[in-house]
């Protein structure tokens, strides 16, 4: 097997590990994460179901400077907490789009958006960040929360984000960076990739 094929296999393994880890999460696991990242006021406007699935590492909506009328794409929208927050800030003439590769997450996010009253201008689409199913220059702002680090092809994902942003459009994402080397036993763990 050539190096390119081995690399593709590695990427496939990582994607499957991420998919399996997220599919196996028990409901309610995100509550302590949400309490750490969002204020009480912010959580008051979010339904319980979205808080229970909050698995981000920051609060990108707080820093995205969203304006009424903008179209926002949330990469890896999960249970929908950031998509719903973004939808409230761009209403009533804007639009929020959540992208997630897991059917069960999109179903949860749709239910949470409906409970929040933002369904009229919010949609959740199936897809992966390395191949975003939107036309060029479709959105004003891209947000993401702890998702880019899950990709085995980060440059590809960033190029896709760049493609779907209109000229002058903004990216605002929360993620983890690591400046010191971690032990290889940790770096090669499926759970470390998924987390």
């Amino acid at each position: 097997m050539g190096e390119a094929h081995q690399d593709l296999l590695f990427q496939s393994d990582i994607k499957e590990a991420v998919r399996a880890a997220y599919a196996a999460i028990p409901s309610g696991g995100g509550d302590p994460v949400a309490r750490r990242l969002y204020s009480d006021e912010e959580l008051e406007e979010i339904p319980r179901g979205a808080i229970d699935w909050a698995l981000g590492v920051g609060n990108p909506v707080r820093h995205a400077e969203l304006r009424i009328g903008e179209t926002v794409l949330d990469i890896g929208s999960g249970g929908g907490i950031d998509t719903i927050m973004a939808a409230r800030r761009v209403a009533p003439s804007g639009r929020a789009i959540g992208l997630d590769m897991l059917d069960e997450m999109r179903d949860r996010a749709r239910a949470n958006a409906a409970q929040s009253g933002v369904s009229g201008w919010t949609e959740f689409v199936a897809g992966e960040m390395e191949s975003i199913p939107l036309v060029d220059e479709a959105v004003d702002v891209v947000i993401s929360n702890g998702v880019l680090n899950l990709s085995a092809r980060k440059s590809r994902a960033l190029a896709e984000i760049h493609r779907v942003l209109r000229p002058g459009g903004r990216l605002c994402l929360a993620d983890l960076v690591v400046d010191d080397e971690l032990p290889p036993e940790i770096l090669t763990s499926d759970s470390a990739w998924a987390g």
Partner: protein, 69 residues
């Protein structure tokens, strides 16, 4: 991914006005809040990472950038 690598990748695909801020230490204690970090991985991290680094195994950041007009 290191912060400087992240920044370089963003610039390489064409983003401008890049800023990385709101640095917050992310330690093993924080990782334990996430259901995706298994007990086995957390135990491994406690065993292999020196105690003085366990409070900051990574850093959460807010990355902002703009697509040029």
């Amino acid at each position: 991914m290191a912060e400087r690598v992240f920044a370089r990748k963003l610039e390489k695909v064409g983003f401008a006005d890049l800023s990385v801020g709101h640095h917050v230490a992310f330690g093993i204690e924080h990782a334990s809040l996430f259901p995706l970090f298994t007990p086995e991985l957390l135990a491994l991290m406690h065993r292999l990472i020196p105690p003085d680094r366990q409070g900051c195994v990574a850093t959460s950041v807010i990355v902002k950038a703009r697509k040029p007009r």
